[in-house]
Point group: C5
Chain length 291, copies 5
């Protein structure tokens, strides 16, 4: 996630450079063809640019809204992971009268989750935090984070029975584990359900066709300054398409993805501090990008 | 659900081919009539294309938004089924101290549910997983998945009493069953309430009329290249209509439907692994389509 | 609710016929006036059709979105009634160890609710299902469904005490009754709060004015084919207005209303079957319409 | 809240009359200036009406959506007050085995709330219903409704202890009080957070400028019938602005405000009837307006 | 937050003055260049203003919707903090039989939270309200508000055990603490996740380009009154951009930020009054702005 506005603008420009160059090149080709070689077939009346434009706007606005909502829902669900792991830490410290082992195990959970969502290996962090016994319990499970939640449930149950905790209070902890399970399921849903193919592919296609036609419909009236007008308009729609495709994969490890490592670290710090253990420092943004 | 972008594009093209051919054919007919036979009645001034276009955009954007929201709500509700069955598995393993029978019975539930929603026979999977006694209990019930939830409630109650589990903890399990009931009810609501007839029928109608009129209003100015412009614009609106109708039936067994089989299998794997039983492998996408 | 697409289209056409005839008649009058009597005052330049059109689009899109959201919220709340009554049935069968009387009383609830919402008399169904004692309890109450929930609460409390049920488990049943109360309150809110007068009246008015002006602004250029273009465009906006007004009263007993009878019957079947009693058959759609 | 369509239309017309007269007057002035004195400076080419129009549409659609959402959220929150006070009544009648005093105290709550939201004095109703002891408890508190909820909590706690009610059941009642607190907080949030100043002021300003420019850009082509076209279009945008400003203050005591008195009375009737006391009649709409 | 409409309008004007002056200056430069020096290259046909305009509208409407939703979500979450701290006060006063120390500690929480969100030092208020022991407990913690919630959990647990409170009732208090944790996490999410860089930077850029091109495309037809038309249109889009950027940082200490100080004070008053302590007066708006 880009957190520095200036650097972000720079990243955006770098990523859009190729499109811009291609756009301009095509615009110049059209103008030169028209002005110098004066191809007859180009003396056509205006193509139906505005109708294509309005269909394009419909496509774009729908796709970008959906992509943004996916991104924001994913962010909100990670927020729920943060909140509930924090509440779990509080409950362990109060209802279960403190259990550093359970707090550390919970700190391993977001690391396992970010590994599963981003399809990267985070077992190092998990092994660092998860107790030996739980590590054995999650071996061979297809869904590691869900297996950790299961182990946490076992740990809570064992400790609650040992201390003779009231069932209603244990039920409150179980509810937090269910809420974590819901948040995790929501994140998996977003990862496993790509944006409907119609929305991830067609807008780019339509925008490209639009950009190709655009100078052809302007060159008769704008003449030599066609590339200026055409590139400007084209760039806008290319930018709109780029916004959508940047947002539609929230778990990708691009500058536009969720800062899952930072979030997992924040949770870890909070949980370790809450049971009085030394916590690693927070992660800072690297060159304007948090990840 | 299409998960492979390239194959998805191919499927979309194949499905749209007929519309495209019809569009082009009509455009060519119009041009030929105009250019060769030069029908007088076609020398009409521009028809009110832009007004029809703006009404069409209103229809389309409303229908597609609604259809997408239905699809995504259905997906979210299936996610809730996944999450809650997972939480149930954890509770069975911790609060009820493990009961492979109940875990297997819960694994049968999503299979029964996808059968009821897709109107297909999934009793084979249900019989494979549901204990003999529960199978007798659901016989003759109109709503099989609801009957399974009822049997699960009976099983939980019996086991909780046998073990002398605290009522508050049993209440947490009951709450998960209620949440499953809510998710199931939501899915049934979406299946039983088709998109309002006005939105499933009129957009296609208006788009068709629009595509018929389109070349008539372009041929005077565009001449021989009319089919190019007209087909392009027409195709866009046909594509928009197709997106909506693809999404409006989330439980259909088309490439655009929910991947209910895959989801039910994922739940099954998770539940069986959580009580240490052998689980079948996950389902892979077949030719870019998950179902 | 229309469930058959073909019949639905037919119903829509029948309902729109009058508007269509009026539209065409007016268009023809305008053309004849212009072409034959050639009124001078009609040789006016284009009226501000596109500005009126864009305001109309704003009105329409807002109204229709709102009306649809009302309809869908009402449907979702009825879904909540279904889900929670089903959960109640499960709880009665498990936690309260079966009580056909309570299950039957719950089956009476949706009938009472649909009566109150649709302002129709459903006391026959209520009397058929509600135990004698509860019938006395709801006498003279202004809000019958709420009174039934109250009686259900009394029944649950009595049975829970008789069986010595844990308070936490009884609390879970009480929570389902509160959820039913919330759903009922939501439905009453929708019924008692008509769509803001500005949205239920103005769109029709503006659409009518628009349709009257439309041919006046087209006749100069389109001549004899004016009725074709004008009626087509007019019909679109009339259809948009009709969609909104069809949806804005979800509890009306028109083909566009909620299928409350069918839903209440579905709930009844589920509850009666769950306690092993004979259930009436499901209601089928009559001539493509479910009610 | 206007509940009678015919009277509502009449109210709307009365409220819009002044704007309409001003609009027409200005239009006539412009035409007369142009046609009779024929001011040269008016022979200008079309001003950028369509660009201003599209910005105006953006402003309006955003403002009206927001204002409507505020209104509807407020209505939904009042619905939550209704539902939860009804659930409280059921719990008092079942779990707490009937306590007319607590039911009456709850009936006082919505009256106190509507007083606080509408900044009107409703202490008469509160005193009529609230027991003497609680009245002393709320003296001098800044937030009267919150103080009543506090007193209700005390009352529930005292009675639960006296009867030896299970903690889990008392917890269910406490949860209803928290839900009431949430609904109240939501209503206070809406009242204390006026619609962002940009949206409550700018749309009217822009609409006014638009209406002033409008005839200037039409008079050259429309001539003497300018007032007709210009007033019609202007009236549409004035109406759109009026809709928004009517809805943005849901607690104002105008015909467009929430019917808080009626709702509070409905709650009172329900609670008094539920404990067998005589209830006042429901409030009827006065001249088509409910308040 | 601006609460006085007149002063608010004044603030808006002051903030927009610079943009307006720059806009006008550029418009005048363009007109003078065109009319006096009559640069040939300006006799160009209309630039693609309407296409740029429609892309700009898309950008703006998306950005402003998103920014407003962020703002309103933040406001709603602060509302949740208010509601839950009030419920906590009620529970302390009833279930825990009154504990001024816990109520005061809760009153410190919103002060700590507004400090963390606004990155300002509010430790003075926290120290004033938080008991000595808890102050020691939060020392050195990275997240002060979360640490206070942890201390509150400890305090509740200690008191509940001392009084022998039922676990289910203590669970209700724990749930309120979890809800506070959720609200806090949501607020942190909004602060830590700036609006996607594409939306915070591009709209301003596009609006600026649009305003530069605008007079160039009007001067040929509007002549000397170009600045009037061009500045008006330009100002509208500048205002739209300003609305969005005002709203996108809800925790900034500008006149457009959340009134966090006022909210924290309101919570403090309510909690102190509920346990019979003297409360400070409510904060009044200063020069039409609440903060």
């Amino acid at each position: 996630m880009i957190v520095n506005r200036r650097i972000g603008l720079w990243i955006l420009m770098r990523e859009s450079l190729l499109s811009l160059v291609l756009l301009c090149a095509w615009d110049v080709v059209v103008v030169v063809m028209f002005q110098i070689y004066h191809q007859d077939w180009m003396e056509q009346p205006t193509l139906p640019i505005s109708l294509i434009g309005s269909a394009l706007v419909l496509f774009m606005s729908f796709r970008n809204n959906t992509a943004y909502n996916r991104w924001w829902e994913a962010r909100t669900l990670w927020g729920a992971v943060t909140n509930n792991s924090r509440s779990f830490g509080r409950q362990v410290g109060t209802i279960l009268r403190g259990s550093p082992e359970l707090a550390r195990a919970m700190a391993a959970y977001p690391h396992a989750l970010r590994g599963a969502l981003g399809r990267i290996d985070t077992m190092e962090d998990v092994r660092r935090l998860l107790p030996e016994e739980m590590l054995r319990g999650i071996e061979g499970r297809a869904n590691i984070p869900a297996a950790i939640l299961f182990q946490l449930g076992l740990g809570v149950d064992a400790r609650a029975r040992a201390l003779g905790i009231d069932g209603a209070l244990q039920g409150q902890i179980d509810r937090i584990l269910s809420d974590l399970s819901n948040a995790q399921g929501g994140l998996e849903r977003i990862r496993n359900t790509p944006l409907a193919i119609q929305f991830s592919v067609l807008p780019k296609l339509v925008a490209t066709v639009f950009c190709i036609i655009l100078p052809l419909s302007m060159v008769q009236t704008l003449g030599w300054i066609t590339p200026l007008g055409s590139s400007l308009v084209g760039l806008l729609f290319v930018a709109l398409d780029k916004i959508g495709s940047d947002l539609q994969e929230p778990f990708a490890s691009t500058p536009h993805g969720m800062p899952m490592r930072t979030i997992a670290r924040t949770i870890e710090i909070d949980l370790l501090q809450s049971c009085g253990e030394a916590a690693p420092p927070a992660l800072a943004a690297v060159r304007g990008v948090q990840n």
